[in-house]
């Protein structure tokens, strides 16, 4: 039973400046599903289309970003919502919420945290203000945050505390689905661990599903049930986290896993030649072929399909 189903999604940035039409194919033919109460991790380098994908899933597309094909469907306990068609305003925050990376720019710097909670969540929860604030306090306590943070201004909180407040803000309406965009990337290791523990507790208490995006595979390994790896706008491999990290099959994933630094292992790590392609003019066939050690003739001509059952991979050399 899946909460989110993305099928053959294509989202391009279409520009038409001075009569020169250009399409940056940031998300090309991506299909994935996220089950109920599951944490799905999305990994990949910057500019591989992760952020575009989650923006499309949250129906936050603005020109020049346009959805060219495919579908995004949510199933919130029997209520089916097609994210690409029409009005989705009433499901935001209530059913679908978003944890953002830059906690400093989420919270209004000149308003107390309490006011941010009222701005974001009051219209979704409703009811008289004292009752609403009691709900917020109870929620903060459940997340081991002092209710006093409500009286603080964002600049009075440390980076880790602000990020935890942002997470509390995203989960106060007990949403069915949470999208988390690099929530731990700006934090140091100690705070990162605390934030990940908090996210795990939220999943257990509220029963939400999560789409967790980060480039840090170590974070995925510790949090996610399933993992998808993106390269240059396409999903190249997907599978249960432990499977994918211990027995990667796509050459790109293999490189990512082999290149991870570890304490206790100072052996030199292999380098991948070249750089990620320009998505306005991606290579033909498999987009990884110019850098791939296993590239064959067919890789230059045809794009490989995602094959496999639970552990899917898009590569001619392995499937």
């Amino acid at each position: 039973m899946s909460v989110l189903a993305v099928a053959n999604l294509r989202a391009y940035y279409m520009t038409n400046a001075f009569g020169v039409a250009r399409a940056v194919r940031a998300v090309d033919d991506v299909s994935l599903t996220v089950g109920r109460n599951e944490i799905y991790g999305l990994a990949g380098e910057s500019s591989c289309g992760k952020s575009t994908l989650i923006r499309t899933i949250a129906a936050a597309t603005h020109p020049p970003l346009r959805v060219v094909g495919g579908s995004v469907t949510f199933d919130f306990g029997g209520r089916r919502v097609d994210m690409l068609a029409g009005d989705v305003g009433d499901i935001r925050w209530r059913h679908l919420s978003y944890i953002m990376q830059a906690s400093m720019s989420v919270l209004n710097p000149v308003r107390r945290v309490r006011q941010s909670f009222i701005d974001f969540a009051h219209r979704h929860i409703g009811g008289p203000m004292p009752e609403f604030l009691a709900t917020v306090r109870a929620h903060l306590e459940r997340l081991h945050l002092q209710p006093e943070v409500l009286d603080a201004y964002p600049h009075e909180l440390s980076g880790g505390m602000r990020q935890r407040v942002t997470i509390a803000l995203a989960t106060v309406c007990r949403p069915d689905f949470i999208i988390a965009d690099e929530p731990t990337s700006a934090l140091d290791v100690v705070v990162q661990k605390a934030v990940l523990t908090m996210i795990r507790e939220i999943r257990r208490d509220i029963g939400s599903s999560l789409l967790f995006v980060t480039h840090d595979l170590a974070v995925h390994a510790n949090l996610c049930d399933r993992l998808g790896v993106m390269y240059a706008g396409r999903l190249v491999e997907e599978g249960p986290t432990a499977d994918l990290l211990h027995a990667p099959r796509h050459p790109y994933t293999m490189h990512l896993v082999a290149g991870l630094p570890r304490i206790g292992d100072a052996a030199p790590k292999p380098d991948l030649p070249g750089a990620p392609p320009n998505l306005a003019d991606p290579p033909t066939g498999c987009r990884f072929h110019p850098r791939c050690p296993l590239a064959m003739d067919i890789c230059r001509q045809e794009a490989p399909a995602m094959l496999g059952d639970r552990h899917r991979v898009a590569c001619f050399a392995v499937s």
């Binding site: 880790g160 290791v189 705070v191 661990k193 840090d216 595979l217 211990h246 630094p261 790590k269």
Partner: protein
Amino acid sequence: MTIESTNRPPLLELCDVGRVYVSGGLLNRRRVRAVHGVGFTLDAGMPEILAIIGESGSGKTTLARMILNIIPPSSGGVRFRGRPLHSHARLDLIRQVQPIFQNPFEAFNPLTRVERYLHATARRFAAGDAWHHIGAALQRVGLSAAEVRGRFPHELSGGQLQRIAIARALIPSPALLVADEPVSMVDASLRMSIVKLFAELRDRLGMSIIYITHDLATAYTISDRIVVMRQGSVVESGAARAVLDSPQHPYTRLLKSAVLSI
């Protein structure tokens, strides 16, 4: 130890360095001790990578700024080649101690072509043809002048920009690089290639590098010595592998236990 190495003054010597920030007005003055009683020495003629690790707010960046002579210490002294920083000529010190900052997108002006930074550094610090020096420095970091010429920062990836920042720092042939969280804004897959570049600079060019980070795994891979800071003070220091393999101080153990692994 040879006689020569004992006679030569150390490259960098920090002696009981402290820094206090004062904020507020006359009545509500607050003093924050950012760095307190830090001391270590980098020997001349023995290039090494010294990693400074610690959580945010532990005073790592303040320490880097004092070594770079951007802010003066409130107590103690920083000596470069045996003399206090302020007694060196400003330009001469810049030539020998070069910085690399955390976020390459903030280090470069978005409206300026990146070659201007390279060119300005080459004109000021390197004799002869500027483009010759730029080409050589870029080649060291795995880029070519053709890839960089005429480009604005937004046309380059974070990893490429950070390499250009390193190339710029190499043009004056410094004796010491101070890299403040150089890979925390760079993707995991490019992180290792930049970290490996530091080890190469140490081995090939004989540069000493102060590598400030909160990433223990990369510090383990490349650094020779490590200094662990907490709330402005050094809590543990020693050979990198030894410290991280068997940390003694509870804080170092906490840091190590917080590192996620696969």
